[in-house]
């Protein structure tokens, strides 16, 4: 009797989980479906939209590849993302190392202040930032957007990197010091190489953040001719295009996110310091 009950509970749980997964995956499925749809599967003239397109096609992706505006925007998105990674890591990594290794008074206050940038809604902080960037002629430039994105991601970089550095035994620094290495030498030759998998995770995080960031990019670029992919998507949206084209752009935006998320997960599990101690 009891056994039967347990089985019943289990089935209910399973159904619940499946339903939840379906809810989460449904929009993603619709996006993929539309991106592969031919025109007749999207514009059905009142008939219900089919679960799977009548004539699946990659025509939309083909169109994107030959669409200059899209390719330019993709390139700019990539440039912005890579530049953001560079800035965020160059600033964030040494900062994280200092926060972990040098226990000076007020460390926690400083660490908290670092995340304060993200305590406000983006739409609130975007106004003063655009204001300042205008003064320094950083509006409507790749560097400007990259700076804004690194501003958003540095706190995350610092916290990820702090976590990584905390796992690196202090003895490695001390041993390097005894063997004659300067602080900078042991940081660049010992600590950073050992922390590399974790720092790669931080870099990917910056990439993801920058790649699909919209608000800052929009405000910094909207009045010029540069567009990142999310900004382009918004611009295209404004002239009510076909659903399948939008879906294709969305897929292109999502693919790197999906791939990198899996990569990050893998890195997170790697033992960065295996063999260092004991």
């Amino acid at each position: 009797m009891r056994k039967k009950n347990m089985r019943g509970t289990r089935v209910i749980w399973l159904i619940g989980i499946i339903v939840m997964i379906l809810i989460v995956l449904a929009p993603i499925f619709v996006m993929f479906k539309y991106s592969l749809s031919d025109r007749s599967s999207v514009v059905t003239g009142g008939k219900p939209i089919p679960l799977w397109p009548y004539h699946p096609t990659v025509e939309q992706f083909h169109g994107l590849a030959t669409m200059d505006r899209f390719m330019t925007a993709a390139l700019i998105s990539l440039e912005v993302a890579l530049l953001s990674i560079l800035i965020a890591l160059v600033i964030g990594t040494p900062a994280a190392y200092a926060l972990v290794r040098y226990r000076f008074p007020g460390v926690m206050v400083l660490a908290t202040l670092l995340i304060s940038v993200r305590l406000f809604p983006d739409i609130v902080s975007v106004v003063p930032i655009v204001e300042v960037f205008l003064k320094f002629r950083l509006v409507n430039s790749v560097l400007g957007v990259a700076l804004a994105h690194s501003l958003l991601s540095i706190p995350y970089v610092i916290f990820i990197a702090m976590g990584v550095f905390e796992t690196i035994p202090r003895e490695l620094d001390e041993q390097a010091q005894i063997l004659g290495a300067s602080k900078l030498y042991s940081f660049t030759r010992i600590i950073v190489p050992v922390a590399l998998p974790g720092l790669a995770a931080a870099a990917i995080y910056v990439f993801l953040l920058s790649w699909d960031e919209f608000i800052f990019a929009y405000f910094l670029l909207a009045f010029g001719d540069l567009s990142t992919l999310p900004v382009l998507l918004k611009k295209i949206l404004s002239w009510t295009p076909q659903h399948n084209l939008l879906a294709a752009i969305s897929v292109m935006l999502s693919i790197p996110v999906i791939i990198f998320t899996f990569v990050v997960q893998k890195y997170m599990r790697t033992g960065a310091t295996a063999g260092a101690v004991k």
Binding site: Q175, I190, P193
Partner: protein, 370 residues
């Protein structure tokens, strides 16, 4: 080669005193071990020599140079950490070469020294391995090689053997002794293992609560402990401590333990005049109490006691036997020939010539307290 002199060295972490007014001279080429229970300040002392810990008060001289403020790399020292601290992303050869490269030695010299160190430590053929591909013993030897190639004046070893299994530890102990003999370098070694300390060192410095409890050769600290702490810390199984009072009896002086009385050893007689009627602690090592049938020493009358055996722990070569006399418990080491059985009567002889008397208040050996 160098000497290391501690002149009233102290270390405080906030309100906590880690090392208190340490006076110690380590001679050129000497192997000195700092030994003591965890938290006694031994590792802090070593780290002060390395320059990893600032000295709060006092002076530290390495090679007669005041070294308090000299950075680690200029002290002519090398250190092996308990955790080995190998650089995980570098091969064995790169790890060993690290210090030499920074000091920009010529390539040929680096290669020569790596080869030399790897030969000395039996690491041949492991050049290209990463630390994670090595066994614990190999990692330990790589860490040692990395320290030795710098030809340090003083080699600092912080519990280098404690992460190895028992068998390997004994092997590496012999190895370390061999290396010290060959290189004749000054070595300061930290361990909590008194056996390791005794078997390796020229001199043992026993630390207790941040201070030096006693410094001496292994035999000195074993045979003439200056206080109860040293007496109890050195030697396994631990020395027996029996509480009693010194009294005059007939013409001699004895210590009255309640359950029985023991005559006071010859060399203590003079000092005991001041202690008549005072409480003392009599310390005697388990191997200095014998089963009467097997006793080789002539038994002084009065030092033969009838006891009942308790727990018997056979070690193979010897048995640890717990015995009782009324309310007093103590242990002795017996040869297997004694065939000690639990809960049987036994007659034991105290070799009082090897016993010690400690002042109950100061816990110091009466012989050495002034």
């Amino acid at each position: 080669m160098a000497t290391v002199k501690f002149h009233g060295v102290s270390k405080r972490f906030g309100d906590v005193v880690a090392v208190r007014d340490l006076h110690l001279v380590v001679d050129d080429g000497e192997f000195v071990t700092l030994v003591g229970p965890s938290g006694c300040g031994k590792t802090t002392t070593l780290r002060m020599v390395a320059g990893l810990e600032e000295i709060t008060a006092g002076e530290l001289y390495i090679d007669d140079v005041l070294s308090n403020d000299i950075p680690p790399k200029n002290r002519g020292i090398a250190m092996v950490f308990q955790s080995y601290a190998l650089f995980p992303h570098m091969t064995v050869a790169e790890n060993i070469a690290f210090g030499l490269k920074i000091k920009s030695y010529p390539r040929s010299e680096i290669l020569k020294r790596i080869a030399g160190a790897m030969n000395l430590l039996n690491l041949q053929g492991l050049d290209a391995r990463l630390p994670r591909e090595l066994s614990g013993g190999q990692r330990q030897r790589v860490a040692l090689a990395r320290a030795l190639v710098l030809e340090p004046h003083v080699l600092l070893l912080d519990e280098p053997l404690s992460n190895l299994d028992a068998k390997l530890r004994v092997k590496m102990r012999t190895e370390l002794k061999r290396i010290h003999k060959k290189l004749e370098s000054t070595i300061i070694y930290v361990t909590h293992d008194q056996v390791e300390a005794m078997s390796l060192s020229d001199r043992v410095a026993i630390m207790h609560e941040g201070g030096l409890a006693q410094v001496g050769t292994p035999l000195e600290v074993y045979r003439s402990p200056h206080n109860i702490f040293v007496a109890g810390f050195i030697g396994s199984p631990t020395m027996n401590f029996l509480h009693g009072t010194i009294i005059k009896k007939n013409k001699g002086i004895i210590v009255d333990l309640g359950a029985f009385q023991l005559s006071i050893p010859e060399h203590y007689r003079k000092r005991c005049a001041d202690y008549l009627g005072k409480e003392v602690i009599c310390g005697i090592r388990p191997e200095d109490i014998y089963d009467k049938r097997f006793s080789k020493t002539a038994s002084t009358p009065g030092n033969t006691i009838d006891v009942i055996t308790g727990v018997v722990e056979p070690l193979g070569d010897r048995d640890i036997v717990e015995v009782m006399k009324d309310t007093l418990n103590f242990t002795l080491l017996c040869e297997p020939a004694v065939k000690a059985k639990p809960d049987t009567p036994m007659t034991v002889v105290f070799d009082m010539a090897k016993a010690h008397l400690f002042d109950k208040k100061t816990e110091r050996n009466i012989l050495f307290s002034s």
